[in-house]
């Protein structure tokens, strides 16, 4: 059962989320400030953290930073009334994986949590397994229907990224930043070239890489 650490200083909202998520099968550990959340985190085996930003004793940004530096892949979701681009950026820089603005849709929260958990499992195993595809990022392996396909490390990472977030569009700049680690220029065709190679080499019925005109690419599962 997935253990979620919920850090929210408003008692009603905390109760609301705890009640809802418990009814969905999660174990919820509650805390009403950043410091007690951090102690709880250190003493229990937590699978996912949901935190507010404006809290006494230690705010959500600091809590996120601490958690992120202690466990680099643990899913964190920020739940806050603060909507500005500045706060969102600060949240993501602190290390959150997702950011929802209050008031939230409980069903949407559930969907996003499930997506985060699914992705965490993928990251933990470093593998993506579809009907005919096995993509092993740690060992740089790609198997389609049992046959091994020779791909460069970056190509594996690129495919892994797209398949980890099915249906989500990524821009070329985001992919360059994530996988190659630097800002690209507009004339840089690196991403396009690698996508072409993936399309030519990885012929598999389980997914398709789609070009979204003007925006970027996404992987769609079939």
């Amino acid at each position: 059962m997935t253990k979620i650490l919920l850090c929210e200083d408003d008692a009603h909202i905390r109760k609301l989320i705890a009640t809802y998520l418990s009814s969905q099968g999660f174990i919820i550990l509650e805390s009403d400030n950043g410091m007690s959340a951090w102690s709880l985190f250190q003493n229990e085996k937590i699978d996912l953290v949901i935190t507010d930003l404006m809290m006494p004793k230690m705010d959500g940004f600091s809590l996120t930073q601490k958690i992120r530096s202690s466990q680099k892949d643990l899913p964190i979701l920020i739940l806050s009334a603060l909507e500005s681009v500045e706060d969102k950026e600060k949240g993501f820089i602190s290390g959150t994986d997702d950011y929802m603005v209050k008031p939230i849709d409980l069903k949407e929260l559930l969907m996003r949590l499930k997506a985060l958990i699914r992705r965490y499992k993928i990251i933990m195993e470093d593998k993506i397994t579809l009907k005919n595809l096995l993509l092993d990022q740690a060992n740089n392996q790609c198997l389609v229907s049992g046959k091994s396909i020779e791909l460069s490390k970056k190509e594996v990472q690129l495919l892994f990224k797209l398949l980890s977030y099915p249906n989500i569009i990524f821009t070329r700049e985001q992919l360059m930043n994530d996988i190659w680690g630097y800002d690209s220029q507009s004339y840089d065709r690196t991403v396009d070239t690698h996508i072409k190679r993936l399309r030519d080499l990885v012929i598999c019925d389980d997914f398709e890489i789609i070009t979204v005109r003007g925006l970027g690419y996404k992987a769609v599962l079939k």
């Binding site: 408003d10 806050s80 009334a81 603060l82 939230i104 409980l106 069903k107 989500i168 507009s186 003007g214």
Partner: protein, 340 residues
């Protein structure tokens, strides 16, 4: 010394004195008497050299005393214009420029304090008003999930929708007040506007994919350092409007160019269009063109756009034909020299 003029006089006298040393030394060394010394060519050269030295001394004195200090204040002023109030200039002495510097420091501190006050207020208010709204909406959703009576379910749905609407309204009002009251427009590190626009489209992927919309993007790779938050808000409001008013399977065209130091953003949707009788009022606060959509729209989106564009000294205009298309054009001056 308390007066700049006194300091200038002192530097002048010192320079004069030092510069007279060379000719005096020449006269002293030369045994042939003062008159012959003066007539000699070496004396002329010596005098010219010492005049040059005097000017140099005087010039550097003035440079250090006045020009450098004023340059420092000038640079600090640029920082303040960018919205960076973390400036503090060390002030030495008690003359008029020291006075200027210490007044400048007080000004920076006051601006900083005011900014915190206002920012803090907005953030706190946002948090304080959204928290109870979240509770109302959340508990209504909890009950709705287990409610079997269809009438009650409908009433709960209404509570949920209205609380969402209230939340959006309060957020928009806060944004509008924040932008409206900004006296100094914060600038950011140069960033790619095209990528900012693409990110906004990604953010709303669910909404436009739901309507099976396509984007036709022609975005030049332009860097600018205008307030990132504001431009994000501006593009977002225009893009979400285009999405909302597009028909199923439609196309939205967006172009971004830089022409003669102006950023030109154009967005066209081929949807409902704006009725002639509404055209005059669309930028007005709380105006919603389509009455049936008032539950979705706060009517503030375009007011916020206009406020932002006005603050950035730009222009926003539109063209529309009912049931056919709507095009919004935004032009904002971007002064290249300020990016460096």
């Amino acid at each position: 010394m308390n007066k700049l003029s006194a300091k200038i006089i002192v530097i002048f006298l010192v320079s004069l004195f030092l510069s007279s040393l060379l000719p005096r030394m020449l006269i002293f060394i030369n045994n042939e008497g003062v008159q012959s010394t003066i007539r000699a060519n070496e004396f002329l050269v010596g005098t010219l050299i010492s005049s040059g030295v005097a000017l140099l001394l005087f010039g550097s004195g003035i440079n250090i005393l006045i020009i450098k200090r004023i340059m420092k204040v000038s640079q600090a002023t640029k920082k303040i214009a960018k919205g960076d109030y973390e400036v503090y200039l060390p002030s030495l002495g008690k003359d008029e420029i020291s006075s200027l510097i210490s007044n400048f420091n007080s000004m920076a501190q006051t601006l900083k304090a005011n900014e915190y006050l206002h920012k803090d207020f907005i953030r706190n208010f946002s948090h304080e008003i959204k928290t109870p709204i979240s509770s109302i909406k959340g508990y209504a959703e909890l009950i709705e999930a287990s409610e079997s009576n269809p009438e009650n379910k409908e009433y709960l749905r209404i509570i949920i929708d209205e609380s969402s609407r209230l939340s959006r309204l309060s957020q928009s009002m806060l944004q509008l007040s924040q932008i409206d009251s900004a006296k100094i427009i914060k600038r950011d590190e140069p960033y790619k506007v095209a990528e900012q626009i693409r990110n906004i489209i990604q953010l709303h992927q669910q909404d436009w994919e739901h309507k099976n919309l396509e984007f036709n993007l022609q975005l030049d790779e332009i860097y600018c350092s205008l307030n990132k938050d504001w431009l994000h808000q501006l593009w977002q409001n225009l893009i979400t409007n285009a999405i909302r008013f597009s028909k199923q399977d439609g196309v939205i065209d967006i172009t971004l160019n830089e022409i003669e130091n102006e950023l030109i953003f154009k967005i066209t949707d081929h949807g409902l269009g704006i009725a002639d009788q509404d055209k005059e009022s669309i930028f007005k606060l709380f105006f919603v063109a389509d009455r049936s959509r008032s539950s979705q729209s706060s009517g503030l989106g375009l007011s916020i756009c206009k406020t932002i564009v006005d603050k950035l000294e730009g222009n926003i205009s539109f063209e529309s034909e009912e049931s056919f298309f709507t095009t919004f054009t935004v032009s904002i001056p971007i002064n290249k020299s300020e990016i460096i």
